[in-house]
């Protein structure tokens, strides 16, 4: 207490110390948080996760079926020489999950580090519509940062009863009754920048991504299935007959959460 106008300041100091020093046993806080996460219906868990996004008047109920209208004006230059579309379905190269800043600690991740989804990676992000020189690492300043929830739920299931590896699910169509846990997220701009560092994939020489929305991607590994949040970024790229649509899937989870 800051006020010391009581009749017994020494007793008040002891009480302050007692209340500050009395804490639950080690592990209680995380156990209770996991219980809170697990007992909620999936649509409310997602609503809570997205409720952390400070979007002003966006109602939590609407965010549960969110289509994130994030303006990600990012010019994508794909450094690889291979042709073909940049769509996620054509991706054959799993994103490399090298966490910036070194190896991450998997402590505190309820399901441990998660397998990375098989997704198209974006390479050669450049700012302001200026293509990067071939072979140079790209910058991602062209992406407009957007507020993100600090955590999003990840769902776990047995592969025989769930979606196949690589299946993309809309937020509003996730199955219910799955075990879930909150995982740390990263921003769209970080996700795109990380994808750019992970290596080139087949795609268009350049593309402009104009939107990103939150989806879930099924990842099956080691006898376990996970539904992991990801940003499905869409835009256009110049083609022979004009602009062609492109889309890129990048994980929404922090690199430290992925194995």
């Amino acid at each position: 207490m800051s006020e010391r106008d009581g009749p017994d300041p020494e007793l008040e100091r002891r009480l302050d110390a007692a209340f500050r020093g009395t804490r639950p046993r080690r592990g209680f806080e995380d156990e209770l948080w996991a219980r809170l996460q697990a007992q909620r219906p999936w649509w409310r868990r997602i609503g809570d996760g997205l409720g952390g996004v400070r979007w002003g008047g966006v109602a939590t109920g609407l965010t549960a079926v969110l289509v994130v209208g994030l303006l990600v004006v990012t010019v994508v230059r794909l450094g690889g020489a291979r042709g073909g579309g940049a769509g996620m379905s054509s991706a054959a190269v799993p994103a490399t999950r090298a966490a910036p800043g070194g190896a991450a600690d998997s402590a505190g991740l309820p399901f441990g580090r998660l397998p990375a989804p098989r997704a198209a990676s974006v390479s050669g992000l450049v700012a302001g519509g200026q293509p990067a020189a071939a072979g140079q690492p790209a910058a991602s300043q062209g992406a407009v940062p957007a507020p993100q929830p600090a955590t999003l739920p990840v769902f776990r299931y047995g592969p025989p009863s769930g979606p196949a590896d690589g299946t993309i699910l809309e937020v509003g169509s996730l199955p219910g009754g799955l075990e879930s846990a909150a995982y740390p997220t990263r921003s769209v701009s970080d996700a795109l920048a990380g994808a750019s560092r992970s290596g080139a994939v087949a795609g268009h020489p350049s593309a402009v991504l104009t939107q990103a929305r939150l989806v879930y991607v099924a990842v099956v590994s080691g006898g376990q299935g996970f539904l992991e949040p990801a940003y499905l970024c869409t835009g256009t790229a110049p083609g022979a007959g004009g602009s062609v649509p492109v889309q890129v899937l990048v994980p929404a989870l922090a690199p430290a959460a992925l194995g």
């Binding site: 009749p7 017994d8 002891r14 009480l15 302050d16 007692a18 209340f19 009395t22 639950p24």
Partner: protein
């Protein structure tokens, strides 16, 4: 001051220890404090979409839930039995021995003395030393700020008289 609505996890991480300490002072033992802390955050989680920061600070809102939960707990299971167990220093089943030892050595005696006060005195000490202002304490307890201060000072005197003379 009421302000923006934080993500629930921020609220949880910021208050779970304080709510536990408050409930420890109200219930007199670790096991019940953990149990009711869980109930408090389950209720808060379920009600969070209806929480309006304009009407109450997160602290006032959470401690209102905690206070009600503590009162419910006392009504449900009988305070005398739990207090007898606490005063007899009987470790409850499944209590962590390490925590019990540290708790008892450092703060247990004082917290148990608070838990042994009459209801209003126990509440005012618990809420005040959980970081609430006298205005907030008064609002939670249904009295004025000045009345909360007077009640608090009386509670301190009563607590002092309940503590052993040799207490540090």
């Amino acid at each position: 001051m009421p302000g923006a609505k934080p993500p629930f996890e921020d609220l949880y991480r910021g208050y779970v220890g304080r709510i536990y300490a408050y409930l420890r002072s109200q219930l007199g033992n670790q096991v019940d404090a953990e149990d009711v802390t869980s109930q408090v955050f389950v209720k808060a989680y379920e009600a969070y979409t209806r929480y309006e920061p304009r009407h109450a600070t997160p602290s006032a809102w959470l401690f209102q839930i905690a206070r009600n939960a503590a009162l419910d707990h006392h009504r449900r299971s009988g305070r005398r039995q739990r207090m007898e167990r606490a005063l007899a220093r009987e470790p409850a089943p499944s209590a962590d021995p390490g925590v019990l030892a540290q708790d008892r050595i450092l703060y247990g005696e004082l917290m148990e003395a608070v838990a042994g006060l009459p209801e209003r005195q126990r509440e005012v000490i618990g809420l005040r030393h959980s970081g609430l202002s006298f205005l907030e304490v008064g609002q939670l307890m249904g009295c004025s700020e000045d009345a909360a201060k007077m009640l608090y000072h009386r509670a301190l005197k009563l607590l002092r008289s309940a503590l052993p003379e040799a207490s540090p």
